[in-house]
Amino acid sequence: MSKKESYKKLFKQTFLFFLVTVFIFVPLVGIKLLGWKYSLRIPNALFLIFGLTVIRFMIGVINLTPRLRGPFRKVFSQVSYLPHVAPTSISQRKKSLLFLVIALSFVLPFVIEQYWLSVMITALIYVMLSLGLNIVIGFAGLLDLGYVAFFAVGAYGVALLHHFFQIDFWLAMPIAAFLAMLVGGLLAFPVLRMHGDYLAIVTLGFGEIIRLLLNNWTEFTRGPNGVILPRPYISFFGIPFDKNSPNSFHNLLGIEYSLSHKSIFLYLCLLLIVIAVTYFCLRLKKMPLGRSWEALREDEIACRSMGINHVTIKLFAFGLGAFFGGIGGGFFAALTEFVSPSSFTFIESALVVSIVVLGGLGSIPGVIIAAVVMTLLPEVLRDIANVRVLMFGVVMVVMMIWRPRGLTRVLRPRFNKTSK
């Protein structure tokens, strides 16, 4: 095709593209409903229409210009697989970097203010959740869209154990986590024979059922009003963080009362647990169970015909994932000192899924970084807070098309080739 012809074609395509954007953005962006009336926002629509049309045109031009096409393609080309052999040991530099990060995260709570402390705790909770879901999706390849259910069971478990039996957090949290694991195992049974999108839908339905039960079973869960925990709820292994009680934490230590003691303590406990879980997950990947999951993920049929018991390993995946979700939920209850069904919607599941996806489906450092970034970003950039979910959506689409294996490279432990 000659240059002139291809430009003609580009103009035609751009014009069609323009028409499509007009019909998409004029009704839904250019007009805003106000009660039974409406107001016009035509400039917004025009901005989107012309912005996108110009971008479309530029991409066309780049594609038609050989000099620009090469580097452009390089950046945007799909990477379907990354042939990569994992190093047998972590390099010294990486080790010291890791040490630095861990040390910093221990110091962090003492230097930041209360608000950021609770943001950091939230981030750690998301790390916890993402590590849990990473086992189910990243390791075993089972798309679980009802993960929020386990989060909810953990949170409600802690809250209700206190509400009905006044059980302390440090006893209630493990119980709730085991409860979540039990529920995870329960869910695993009906979905044992499923995979792919059927599994996704069933888990999604399951998550919604849990939320609806929390919402409607008012006698047990107090319904949409939620369960309020006493403040401060968490204690230093039995010693309260109360301001006024004589044998509370600050009095025993003889220091000034501060609201942040409680949060610092919560943060440090969670940090320790997260580090332990991370270590566990890293080990898990190299253990036989981790390898069976990988086999399951890559090819279920082959996996089953090789004699791997897919029932047990699926149960393990769901159970472990749920357990970590439950721990996360417990800490969530301790942080907010209040739980209600509105914290456990599908969006929450989707958010954790998108973190795992962004982190690179199976890569533990990737997932941790993604979880921290995704929680901190909306806080740092206040302006984008209200497009948070939009951003997650875009990230999920773009990632799957552009880098289906995540931003970081998946380091897969391999058997060392023995030379013969």
Binding site: P27, I301, G393
Partner: protein, 307 residues
Amino acid sequence: MMWEIIQQTVNGLALGSIYGLIAIGYTMVYGIIGMINFAHGDIYMLGAYVTAISIAVISSIASMPVVLLLSLTVLIVVPITALHGYVLEKIAYKPLRHAQKLSALITAIGMSLFLQNYIQISQGARNQGIPTLISGGFTLWTDKISSLSAVMSYTQVVILVVTLVSMLTLAYVIKSTSLGRQCRSTQQDQMMSAMLGVNTDRVISVVFIIGAGLAGVGSVLVTLNYGSFDFFIGFIAGIKAFTAAVLGGIGSVTGAMLGGLLLGMSESFFSGLVNADYKDVFAFGLLIFFMVFKPTGLLGTPEVTKV
């Protein structure tokens, strides 16, 4: 008691027709590319907004009889939802046609989140609504003792008629036109269809367009019936319609319609006779039950999986 049974049947039929209309989109897309179009429910949600917007705009320009107003609304809403379906396929599904299923599914969920938030930003988070356009109805049955009566509202009549017309049109297109044959052949054997000269990419686009268009019809009808909506309605409606598609046997268009009616009826009886609070739990429970014990649904052809 009799009036209640009749009333719930009428409500169930109206509700079920709408589930059926949305379910068609799931079932056709699944039939042809083997993927759940997660964002389909959100196309329906978006249709509800376009419905309210076009009713507001049209009635601000000129006052006209309700029939004309509604026909114009349908003529605006359906092409716009259909266009969204087309664009959705181009952006989120076409690049992933040969990718892993997990990737495509995640993309679809991403698309669904995107659409919800897009509407939330552009139209605001609060509930929206339209004024009642059609009021009144037929009395079908009056109980002699309690003098309670079963009523079929005119809106419900409109729902049933419009659904029937849409379904008959679709049935005709699929059964007797060349395009319909191409859809079916692509569903059965994509490679062979392409070798016979069927432009399968175009057929897939058409399927998305038809599904989204029918979801648009559904949005007009629902908005007419309930009057209010928000940016989140697509989620629950989507799962319910998907349940309908599964009930009827995913991949089967007749099945989707029957599944819709079945789900609508059982949901309406459940909420009328057992407990209205748990009607969604009931619907999702039904979904899981069918997925686990009868994944082929009532009319579906068994899926052959090689193990």
